[in-house]
């Protein structure tokens, strides 16, 4: 009887210990999950705020200052490699494209920009193509007007002697046509 009582107690205690162990594991997992969520929340928020700037976005708008070609074309130049590494580091710091370009200008001056700023001599890069296009359009327009004006004059001034059929042949052709009159 006593042994039975002892066995029952032992069994109850074991169940209690097992329940306690399960509870503490569950609590530990829950705590860990909460901690992870709290820790990753600012990182996720930062990632959401981080602009999606890529190396390719910036590379074609800046120059390799030593080679004098856009950075995306300068594959082997050591200076280009350093410039690229600088851009990648700034992308990792969540900088926008314009911020990265400004940082490059701070380091290398405005010559690093593939498109110069619209002031001074650099203004020519924007004005010259537009002016060139307008002049070309005006020239084409003027030439078209002149060509259209000349066409009727030329037709009117064409001499009759320019007819490809000789006078004798023309008479023969006329006679033939009358003979085969349908």
């Amino acid at each position: 009887m006593r042994a039975r009582e002892e066995g029952r107690r032992w069994s109850v205690r074991r169940r209690y210990d097992a329940a306690k162990s399960t509870f503490s594991t569950t609590r530990l997992v829950a705590l860990l999950a909460t901690a992870l969520t709290l820790a990753s929340a600012p990182a996720a928020a930062a990632a959401a705020r981080c602009p999606r700037t890529t190396l390719g976005d910036v590379e074609d708008e800046v120059m390799c200052t030593v080679c004098g070609v856009p950075l995306n074309l300068a594959t082997d130049a050591p200076q280009a490699a350093r410039e690229r590494a600088f851009i990648v580091a700034l992308i990792r710091q969540c900088r926008t494209k314009s911020q990265i370009k400004q940082a490059l200008v701070d380091q290398y001056g405005e010559r690093v920009l593939a498109l110069p700023k619209a002031k001074g001599f650099g203004l020519g890069a924007y004005v010259v193509p537009v002016v060139g296009f307008l002049i070309a359009a005006a020239l084409v327009g003027a030439a078209a007007v002149r060509w259209r004006r000349r066409r009727p004059d030329r037709r009117a001034s064409q001499p009759a002697a320019e007819s490809p059929i000789e006078p004798g042949a023309s008479a023969r052709l006329e006679a033939d046509l009358q003979r085969y009159d349908l």
């Binding site: 490699a81 380091q107 001599f121 002049i135 005006a138 020239l139």
Partner: protein, 184 residues
């Protein structure tokens, strides 16, 4: 009065001439200055172009004019330039050698990142004065096309010699030591 040219060909000629002039201006602007080398080759010592740049190794600015009375080894370099890595320790040794005789090396870091340049100075333990020309604005005035390039400037501020490439021990002995013996 008879009109020599009609408006359309006149406009075409004028716009072509304007484009050619613009192109020529751009080419001339970017053309490096060869006059220093030509003058030195003909035995003259032209005035060194003005140079005043922010210091890389300390706050403030440093000008070439402030070093008048000393022989200046003006060395254009960049941290990404591979020959500069071999040349810098040699220049550092010469800095210790010429300082007492009234000479100095002046490093001009060009087309470089500030952090890279400072890391280079730290790595090679360079103690001679350094200035920084990130945009390379003064390169054309000194006729610099590659890296490294060195100009030797006498005590009166005249360019006495140019070396378009890395300097060597024998070059410095041959070209720099006689300059140090000259008086201002």
């Amino acid at each position: 009065m008879k009109r020599v040219l009609k408006p359309v060909p006149l406009a075409a000629i004028a716009s072509t001439a304007a484009l050619v002039a613009l192109l020529a201006y751009g080419v001339v602007q970017n053309e490096p200055n060869r006059s220093i080398d030509e003058a030195v080759a003909s035995g003259q010592r032209p005035n060194a172009p003005a140079l005043e740049l922010p210091r890389l190794d300390a706050p403030g600015r440093l000008s070439l004019a402030s070093l008048r009375g000393r022989v200046v080894v003006l060395n254009f370099w960049a941290s990404w330039c591979i020959p500069c890595r071999q040349e810098s320790p040699l220049l550092e040794r010469w800095q210790h050698r010429i300082a007492a005789a009234g000479g100095t090396i002046l490093g001009v870091d060009v087309l470089d990142l500030t952090t890279d340049a400072r890391a280079f100075v730290h790595r090679y333990r360079l103690t001679y004065p350094m200035v920084r020309d990130g945009p390379g604005r003064r390169l054309a005035a000194f006729g610099v096309l590659g890296y490294p390039e060195t100009l030797l400037i006498d005590r009166r501020g005249h360019v006495a010699a140019t070396n378009r490439g890395p300097v060597t021990e024998s070059y410095l002995q041959r070209a720099l030591l006689p300059l140090l013996r000259e008086h201002a």
